[in-house]
């Protein structure tokens, strides 16, 4: 996740748009209480890290 507050807010907004779009498309597949709360963790922290991005842990 980016360091500056504005970049962080942008990252959260992008994740939110992605989640809403995925939710609209797949419905119950991502709009559930397991995937939903974990989605930002995967998109903002774990996936960027796995892809070799900045170490955010």
């Amino acid at each position: 996740m980016p360091d500056s507050p504005s970049r962080e807010a942008l990252a959260w907004a992008a994740a939110f748009v992605a989640y809403v779009a995925l939710g609209y498309w797949t419905k119950g597949l991502v709009l559930n209480w397991i995937i939903g709360p974990l989605f930002p963790l995967f998109v903002l922290i774990l996936i960027p890290q796995a892809l070799g991005g900045r170490n955010s842990r």
Binding site: F16, V20, P37, F39, L41
Partner: protein, 287 residues
């Protein structure tokens, strides 16, 4: 039933309870009434009755269920902040679900009379997608929006890194430290996990609202007892208002007596042997 309101209310409650309750306990408490029952509701012959009534799993939406769950957790973990979080979270869920036509049985088993203000129609009989479309075509969607606005106006500080560091972690240092050790997530990761419930609530609110408008194309009818395009009210009781008040009052009195007895027999003892997070752990740095 309420949808995203159950996610937003956690942050609102946490803001008022501070370090006295565990956010993780609170979240599990809020989820608990639907956690193991919701997936069966849509497969039932009479979803509203199964979900909220008796016979059915309606007892999961009663105050006694929260008491039993909280006492069980207090006995097993000795954690006061977890047990209090579970109790308050489960009770918040019960009171929030009073708003739909099926209502809840708050004082089960002393009264099986559903209590409802019939703001919107319980629509589980429409299946999961029909239910979502109906909810976000009724005042239910507005109810979610109300809680989101309340969260933003009153409790937005609970979403900050500073609040997480000074209140959420100290209220429940053992569980967060365990998560840190098991997942190797740092503060940012745990903060993201903490914010995840709010993200999920807002995300599913917008997604299902869009689905209702552009997918299911159901008419937007945010009026009391709507949406009127549904043919069934799913009201579980045909009792008159006075009868409901009488039965509920009697149930409430009996429940209060039961609660007092349980506290004297078990609760007080478990509470005394329970522990708050030690100050040394509260001030500990995980990262």
């Amino acid at each position: 039933m309420s949808w995203a309101a159950h996610e937003f209310e956690n942050y609102f409650i946490q803001k008022h309870a501070g370090v006295k309750i565990s956010f993780l306990g609170l979240a599990i408490g809020t989820l608990s009434p639907d956690l193991f029952t919701k997936s069966f509701v849509y497969r039932s012959d009479d979803p509203a009755m199964f979900h909220r009534g008796w016979p059915g799993v309606g007892f999961s939406h009663s105050l006694i269920f929260g008491v039993a769950f909280a006492l069980l957790v207090l006995w097993a973990t000795r954690s006061r902040s977890w047990s209090l979080g579970i109790l308050i979270g489960q009770w918040a869920h019960v009171f929030t679900d009073v708003a739909d036509t099926a209502g809840v049985m708050p004082f089960f088993p002393f009264s099986t009379e559903p209590v409802t203000i019939s703001m919107w129609r319980h629509a589980a009989s429409e299946g999961p997608y029909g239910d979502a479309a109906a909810y976000y075509s009724s005042l239910g969607g507005m109810w979610d929006l109300f809680w989101l606005v309340l969260l933003i106006l009153v409790a937005r500080r609970t979403l900050t890194a500073d609040y997480f560091r000074t209140t959420i972690l100290p209220a429940d240092p053992r569980a967060w430290a365990w998560l840190h050790r098991r997942t190797r997530l740092g503060e940012r990761g745990l903060l993201t996990l903490y914010r995840g419930l709010c993200f999920y609530g807002a995300g599913r609110m917008v997604s299902w609202f869009l689905y209702a408008r552009f997918g299911a194309r159901t008419p937007f009818q945010p009026l009391w007892n709507g949406p009127s395009y549904l043919t069934s009210y799913n009201d579980l009781s045909d009792a008159g208002a006075l009868e409901v008040v009488w039965r509920t009052t009697l149930g409430g009195i009996l429940f209060a007596g039961f609660l007092w007895m349980i506290w004297r027999l078990i609760g007080a003892r478990l509470w005394r042997r329970g522990v708050d997070p030690p100050l040394v752990e509260r001030n500990r740095t995980f990262f």
